[in-house]
Subunit: 346 residues, 2 copies
Amino acid sequence: MAVTLKQIAEQAGVSPSTVSHAIRGINPGKRQLSPQTIIKIRNVAQKLGYRPNMLAAGLAQNKTFTVGVLVSTLRGDFYERILEGITEVVHPQFTPLLTVHNYDKLRERRELEVLIGKRVDGIIAACSGDVENSYIYRELGEVHRMPLVLVDRGLKDINCPVVRSDHFKSTYIAVKELFGLGHRQIVFAAAGRDMDSTQIFKDGFTAAIREVGCESESGIFAKKTNSWTRGEMKQFASEIIDHVLGLAQRPTALILQADWLAYDVLAECQVRGIRVPADLSVMGMEDCSPSALPGISLSTIKVELEQVGKLAAQMLLNLINGEVPSQTKVLVPPSVIIRKTTRMLA
Amino acid sequence: MAVTLKQIAEQAGVSPSTVSHAIRGINPGKRQLSPQTIIKIRNVAQKLGYRPNMLAAGLAQNKTFTVGVLVSTLRGDFYERILEGITEVVHPQFTPLLTVHNYDKLRERRELEVLIGKRVDGIIAACSGDVENSYIYRELGEVHRMPLVLVDRGLKDINCPVVRSDHFKSTYIAVKELFGLGHRQIVFAAAGRDMDSTQIFKDGFTAAIREVGCESESGIFAKKTNSWTRGEMKQFASEIIDHVLGLAQRPTALILQADWLAYDVLAECQVRGIRVPADLSVMGMEDCSPSALPGISLSTIKVELEQVGKLAAQMLLNLINGEVPSQTKVLVPPSVIIRKTTRMLA
DNA sequence: GTGAAAGCGCTAACAG
DNA sequence: CTGTTAGCGCTTTCAC
């Protein structure tokens, strides 16, 4: 079918191993080739349109020049941004084999098995968070000795590098920023499918609120769901506003756990005649692409997703090269972005 | 290192070939195994945590259970949506090897070579559009006999299936819709890095305008660039409004080649005191995620990107199975979505 | 029903 | 400087 080393060897009148070395350059086999044979071999290869079969090479070297990437979903720009960071860092040495689990634990398992079967050189995974699948991640390291780094979410009992955004700091700096602007009554509306993350967000909020001494006039409004459809989001936005309006001490600032939720809250405010930021300052989280749009201009906490991807990829490459990671838990710091939905209090 | 067929064979006291058959089930090697040996072998495999090495299997069968996907970029939700369609269709039979060219023709070449080297079973590519690279796509089919389907953009002289959104129809139905709403003076603002696509958009616009007989009062305002930064976009939005305002016959409707451009146009309208849709109806193209946001509510032409991905993937699977495609050029039809930036003229 | 042997395309000692 | 020989881990005739 495709042209092989052997065919080139015959055409050029040399042995396969010579061809192998000539094609790959000097270093790999640390062999001295006469310039003429190199030229000759390369010419033949060129003429025949030879492309080395990396599968065969990999089989012989026990390498695949491929890294497995498992993400939760391709919807929205969250994993897309992480993915972008990853591809840029592993390129061109490795190419990513992309899998998606859609929060389905059976699929998560299966995809991981596929990656093992394909003998990827390492895996970067955003696990579904289902503890039932922990064992397979453990197996990855312990029985298959496959380099693994987790992104976005860690896994109890799994001792492997984790790169995630610093959620604690997100709410923490949001509160500090708002406090700096003069706000004293601040509400954090927590919502997410991932209870661990949500808890961290809450902790950051609480810690900051304590530090600035606003415990009595601030609070958390939470709801848990594991499917956020547009309708549910809108519904929750409405409930948040109800809550805010119902409070004895009317809050002056509202922090939402996600930009997309903030968009609905903004819409709800408009419907109810609440002026933003005059009556209420609103702050989102993540800095999704619409937030910068002139019509939205949402103040938010920017989560450095590309950076998460890049750092994770860099750690994986190090692991693949046999280096021991200096730190195993990496938190990438968020930053605050002030646009037009927050204001300084007089 | 990893556990192999041979080890299982030894542990189970049978030959490697028997293990191979037992693991894969009955069909593949059409061999009759006694139920007991099957059980015995599977148990051993289970106990040892055996995962077949698909590389080795692939080398023996000349298959990789992998498809190459080459996209232009991961930024924005355009390719992401196509990618989503692809992954869902090829799953779980194949897993996608993801590459990105970033409109760099050298990188495009290199990534394609990598995919060839990894002997993917087929390729779905959004080519950069650079004609200099045509030859490599040709080589793909002619010398490597690799199934190929192009998405989003075709390539002259390359005779392979192409799946793309029907750009002609996009502007065509936009005009028809607007005409139906009573608009007679319609402007289409064309802008894009890909001149071929832009031309098709223009053609669709012109054809529809002719049909409804509004040639004299309608027109096209075009600008070409190949890098659309936020600043340039904003600048162009401003120029578009200048143009619209400068026309003797003031247009009542404006069609933009991209939603993102429309967002800036909307913002510019606000700045200039042009009320949308009272003074001007605005229609975008693609239906990006922010368009549905309450604060934006952009009327637009929805491009079915997931569908493009799905159809492309389906065609590729057919090609891989040796089927001859019934049709080689597939155009997926867009649809109009009316939100709040367009109105019916009195 | 099961085993032996050849081979997929390459790399990596080991000789010369 | 170059050729020969073993594999890598699997599938697949062909024999028994």
